[in-house]
Structures are given as C-alpha cells and as structure tokens.
C-alpha cells in the first residue's frame, strides 16, 4: 500500500533521508522510530505530499505522490504533530470541509460526521468554534478529520504528545482497530512502549538511514537476550553512532587497501 523506493531528501548539504526503501502492507501498523533529527518527520512529510523526494519515489496504492498528489492524498488520513484547525470554524464545519474536499457527497459527510462524533465523543463541543477547544479536544477533532473519508492509509506523527492516559488508551485502540480493518498505518513516535505494544513492524531510523526494519521479536533475536524495545533501541542507535563516528582506517600495504 505504501512504498518508499530509494527515497533521498537533503536539506542543503545535510542528508535528511538517505536511500530509504520500505513498504507497508494493507492492515499493517508500522512504527517509525528514531532520535530527533533522524529523518522521521521528513519521511512522513514526503508521504503526505508536503515535501518532494529529491531522488526515488513514494507511492500510495500505486499512485506516485509527486505525480498524482491529489489522488494519493485522497487515500491518506494525516494527523500531524502540530495539528491545524481553523479557529473561526466549528468542529462540524471543519469536518464538513475536509470530508467534501476528499470527494464525499454532502449527505455522506453528514453521516460521516455523526460516525466520527460518536467514535471520538465530539458531541458536546462539535458546534463550538475550535478556538475554545482544549488540546485533547483538538487532537480528537483532528483524528476525526483524518478518518472522516475512511482512508486506506493513516499517517500519525507523534500521536501521544500532550494526551492524558485516557486519550492515549483511546488512540492506541483506534490505531490497532484501523489496522485490523485493513488500513495501512504509519506512526512516527518516540513512545517506544506504545510502539512495542501495538506495532506489527518497526523501522528504526538513524541519521536518515533505516538501520533496522522488522518486528520487535526479530530485533530481539538479532541482538540476543530479552531486552525491552527501549533498551534495544538505545543499544542499536549507540552502535550506529559509534560506527558513524569511527575514523576511516588508514590504507595499509599489508592488506593492499
């Protein structure tokens, strides 16, 4: 469903994403992990059409995100790390706009708003201007807007930031339920415990490169022992750091280098 083919993106001389290759299948929940500046957000931005790959291609259900941006966007629900809501629109008006922009006929939008309102308990404040919403209310509205058109792909960037335990629980259940319903979910996160609990597969990014791709169990087998994902992640990235910082060996006559 989601394909990254040798995708590279630089910021000037700095390589933010370097020859990224991976795919996410239908119904798979994929967690993208990495330190700050590892390239997660750049990857997500290329997937949702905000940035264009310098090399390679990003595809969603066969649509190239650069060449067929509209068609690809129609299939995606996106929850950014800093969500945007129009201050002077009510939650209902915002959802209506997003739904119709994704091609839903007006009567279907009404039903979809009802569905999402029930799912996220938006009823009590749905007709208030969003400027009066708390962080949690905003986050729930943004999730509703991402799902209003029942997307094939759900992209969430740091979904747990600023949420209370109840909402975190709600989001975890929601992501798992979406994946079970056949949606491909890409979640970029620092919450390793959440990733460990709900992700089918994880990808660990370090300095723009994918240094691990697989399940948590596979990572444990690779590293040996029965450590938590947090410990595995830290040892994996420290090793990658050490490798990257190791000076290049001097050529010697003995080995002919």
């Amino acid at each position: 469903m989601i394909e990254f083919h040798s995708v590279t993106r630089r910021y000037g001389d700095k390589v933010a994403v370097d020859a990224l290759n991976f795919t996410i299948a239908h119904g798979e929940l994929f967690a993208l992990l990495g330190h700050n500046g590892a390239g997660k957000t750049t990857t997500v931005k290329m997937l949702v059409g905000l940035l264009r790959p310098e090399r390679g291609a990003v595809r969603i259900a066969g649509y190239d995100v650069t060449a067929s941006t509209r068609e690809a966007s129609q299939l995606v629900g996106y929850v950014p790390d800093q969500p945007y809501l129009y201050d002077k629109l009510s939650g209902r008006e915002f959802l209506q706009f997003v739904g119709e922009m994704h091609g839903l006929p007006p009567q279907e939008v009404v039903a979809a708003i009802q569905r999402e309102s029930e799912r996220f308990s938006l009823g009590p404040f749905l007709d208030d201007l969003t400027e009066s919403y708390s962080h949690g209310m905003k986050q729930r509205t943004v999730f509703a807007s991402a799902l209003i058109h029942q997307p094939q792909v759900l992209v969430v960037d740091e979904p747990m930031v600023g949420l209370d335990p109840q909402n975190i629980h709600l989001v975890k259940d929601l992501l798992r339920a979406q994946a079970s319903a056949g949606v491909s979910v890409l979640m970029s996160t620092h919450s390793l415990d959440v990733a460990e609990k709900i992700a089918d597969r994880i990808g660990v990014m370090h300095r723009g490169r994918l240094i691990f791709l697989g399940t948590v169990t596979e990572l444990r087998e690779l590293r040996g022992g029965n450590e938590s994902l947090e410990d595995l992640f830290l040892s994996l990235t420290s090793e990658a750091n050490a490798q990257a910082n190791r000076p290049a060996r001097e050529p010697t006559r003995e080995n002919g280098e």
Partner: protein, 599 residues
Amino acid sequence: MTPVETPPLPDYDREARLFWGLRRRVLSAHFNQLMTTARFRTLLVVLLSTLFWAGLFALFYGGFEFLVRFVGKPGAQNHALTVRFVFHLFFASLNVMLIFSAGIILYSGLFSSPETRFLLTTPARAERIVVHKFQEAVLFSSWGFFLLASPMIVAYGLVAEASWGYFVLFLPFIVAFVFIPCSLGAILCLAIVYRLPRFRTGVLAIAALGAILWAGQSIWVTVRSPQEKLFGSEWFQETLRRFQFTQNEWLPSSWLCNGLLEAAQPTPLSGVQRLSELPIVQALMYLVLSATTAQVCQFAVVLLGKRWFRTAYSQLECRPRRRRKARLAIVDRGAELLLSPLSRPIRLLLMKDWRLLRRDPVQWTQFLIFFGLLGLYFLNVDRFNNPGSDISYLTWVNMVSFLNLAVVGLILSTFTTRFIFPMISLEGRRFWVLGLMPVKRETIVWSKFIFAAIGSLGPCSLLILLSDLMLRVSTLVVVVHQLTTVLLCLGLSSIAVGLGATMPNFREPSPSKIAAGFGGTLNLVLSALYIMAIVVLTALPCHFYLIAGSSPMHETFINPKSLRLWLIGGTAASVVVGALATIIPLKRGIAAFNKLELY
C-alpha cells in the same frame, strides 16, 4: 498495482465553492465575534478610518481647488498637464508599492502559514491554494491603496464637476487595476521561491533598495534645484520631463489615469463623428483593457501556481538552515556601559530586552524606516523656506516645526502600541523564567518603562533637533521642543507599559494581535490625546509669543506680560500633564501586575 476505488474528487467548480464557503464561514464567525465581544473597538476602527478618509479627502479637495484657482480651470492646458502629472505619478508609485506588498503578503501566506501546510495535505489543487491565498494578498495589500486613492479620485471628480460616468466607473477601475500589480507581485514571489529559494531575501532586499534609492534620488534631484528656480516654470517643466516615464502607455497605472480623466470630461454636445471619440467610450475602452489584462494576469498566477507551487514549497522547506550563533556584539557592550548606573536586576532585564530587539529585525527595521523617512523629510524641509522674514513665513515655520513634533509623537505612539504595549503580555507567557527569579514584579514593569523611555528619547530628540535646525527656529523653540520631546517619550512609554500591565493578554502569542486588541486600541487613543494635549499646551503659547514679538502691532492688541505668563503657564501645565501621564499609568500598572495571578 490496481488503484483502489474512491469517490470522484471535487471538480474545479465544486472546489472553488468549497473554498468560498470556507472563507464565508470564517468571515461570518469573525464578524459575529467582533459584534458581540469587540463592538467598541470595531466602531472605533471604523470611525478612525472614516476620519482618516475625510481628512485625506479635505486635503485633496483643497489641493485641486487651489489648482483650479491658480493654475487653470478644467479644460485649460496647464490644468490638464498638472492633473495628468499628479495622477500618473501617484498611481505609478502605488503600482510599485502594490507589487511589493502583494508579493510579500503572498509569500507569508503561501510559504509560512499553518493553513497552507494543512491545505497541502488535502486533495486541494495547488493552484486553488495559490488563488485562495492570492485573494487574501490582494485584499490586504489593496485596502490601503483604496483608502489613499478613493478620496483623491472623489475630490477631483467634485472639483472638476465630472460627469456621472466618472463616479460610476472609478470603483471598477480600481478593482481592475489592483489585480494587475498584485498578480505581478504574486508571479515574482512564486518565481523567486521556485528558482532562487536560497536567495529570496537577498533578491527582495536588492529590489527594495533599488526602488528606494531610485525614488530617493528622483525626489532629491527635484527638490535640490536652485532656490530661486524652485516652483518656477522651468522647474515645473523639468519635473514633468523627469517623471514622463510614469505616463508610459504600457503602464497599467496609465490606463487607470487616462480612463479616469476621460470619464471626468463632459460629453461634447457636437462635433463628434464617431462613437469611439466620446470621452465615456474612451474611458470604457481603458476599463476593458484593464479588466482583461487583470484576468490574463490572474490566469498566469493560476497557471504558474499549478506548475511551481508544490515544488517551490518543498524546495523552501528543504533549504539549508544557517545556524544563528549568539555573539556578544559591540553594541551590547555599549548598552551595558550605558546601563551601568542602574541596579543589577534592572540592568539584566534591560539587556535581555535589548538582545531580543536587536535580534528581531522586524521590530527595528520598521522603526528605522519610519524614522529614516522622517529624517529625510526633515533634511529637506528647508527647501521651502523663504529668505524674507515676513510674518506669514514665521507663522509657517513655527507651525511646521510643531507639526513635525506632533508627527514624531504620533509615530512614536504607534510604535509604543505595537511593540511596548504587548511586552508585559509576552513576558507573562514566559513568566516561569522571571517568576522563579529573585526579582520583584515591579522591577519587571520598571525595566520595560526604562527600556521604552531610553529607546525612544534618543532618536526622537535627534529628529526634532534636526527639524529645528533645518527650519532655523529660535533657541526658545528648540528648548521648548526638547522639553516637549522628553515629556512625550516619558508619557507615551508609561501609558504603553502601564496599560500593558493593567490589561495583559497572556493567551495570545502574537504581539501584533495583542496590540490590535482593546487594550492596544485604548493605548493608541490615549496616546493621541496625550500628544495633542502636550503639543497644544506648549505650541500655542510659544507660537503666539514669537509671532507677537515679531509684529509691530502686538503691543496694541496683546499685553506682552500676559503673553509671557501664558508661555510660562502653558509650559508648566504641560510638565504637570506629562508628570501625571507618566506617574499614574505606571503606578496603576505596577499595582495591577503585583496583584496578577498567573496560571
């Protein structure tokens, strides 16, 4: 892989309707909110704008009446030449300003707004997003144009007794015209970000500097001609020749001017052989030309937006970011030296505010531009002086010198409203930094006051001194002006800081929005009243004292003793008003800030 089944995406019409619906809902919510929560502020803004419009109208009306009386009636050759010159120069200048303002506004709308970032993740067409933001840029950049141009056009129509067609056509002319330079600004904005994303600031700076230098040089050459030739026939011809290019037939501003001037002409009763010779038909032809060009230009914006916008956005986001290192500049060392007599907590707070100001060019460049323009005007104000010493000349010099003082005060009040008033509110957002330090709350308020007073006193005193020196006013006026400047700077700083502490807005992160709130509006109104009170109290007695002193008739009508008393009384009263305006707001501000509960 087979693409999945999805409902059809909105076609062009439906997408346009969705965006218009979005704008309508947002505007309607804004309007309802203004009417329920900020009715007073809205009415005040409408009232002040109407007053501003009426003032400009009176100015233009007076100017055109002067033209009719002393240069020639409508239809006379000199009248036509002068009006043509004024219209073409005025609209050609606004043409350039519209290109810059639309380009800059569109840049911030397209490339640094969270709304655009959101829209780019929806299936909205790139060109629709560009058009959506372009409409905003046209509106925001042209309302000032409308406020400046409409009183001039109406005033000329009334003075020249223009036909009804003139008044009917001037609005469509303005609308058609503004789209052309705004589209050009938009195209340049898109092209620069698409082709030269890394050098966009440099390109803009070079273009703006070039335009300013060129305009400055033209004005300088015009007013620097020998004194005896100034405003003479030769000077006038030379000036017309110098600005002839503004009447170029290819300029959209020329179509607007020619169309309006044609529409203003009366319909000839005889001698017209073809319909196209009628002035109103000529005007309509210019309107059609402007409107069709505007449509073509907007179409170009749509086309280029479709091709360039997404790539340009991505390129700009991925540009290399320079690290901004904090360095201890020489100016910081100078500021530390200057502030050394103050107590350590106040000094530290002042240095913090100074560094924040120094590293935010948006703030100090505006200050620099406005005071720079004023300085340029003051440097040239002596060009209009008269070697004679008749009473009307002396009256004029005194009046201009006090008007200059009032202008400096008014500009300073806009700065204190925009930059000083929101300072406490912004500090409140970072209050955990200062709140955890062993600093009294009143020290924070005092530091803001000292910062504003010191920061404004230097440039304002220098500007007023420059104006006085160029006008060659008497020593008495210089002394009175310097005293008034001190009173203005202290009073305006105190009003802004005091009101800012009494009416803080901790929810709003944007200083411009804080300044635009009720507190900011009140600050602006109170500042204007204070300036008027101080200038009238010091200017009127001083003015009459000097005029009466230079007239042989004065002793017959006014007792010199009472004039002297008036002068002393006026100055003393201004000092009292100044002291009250400094002490009361500051005291109230400190009391309010001490009681404030931050959560």
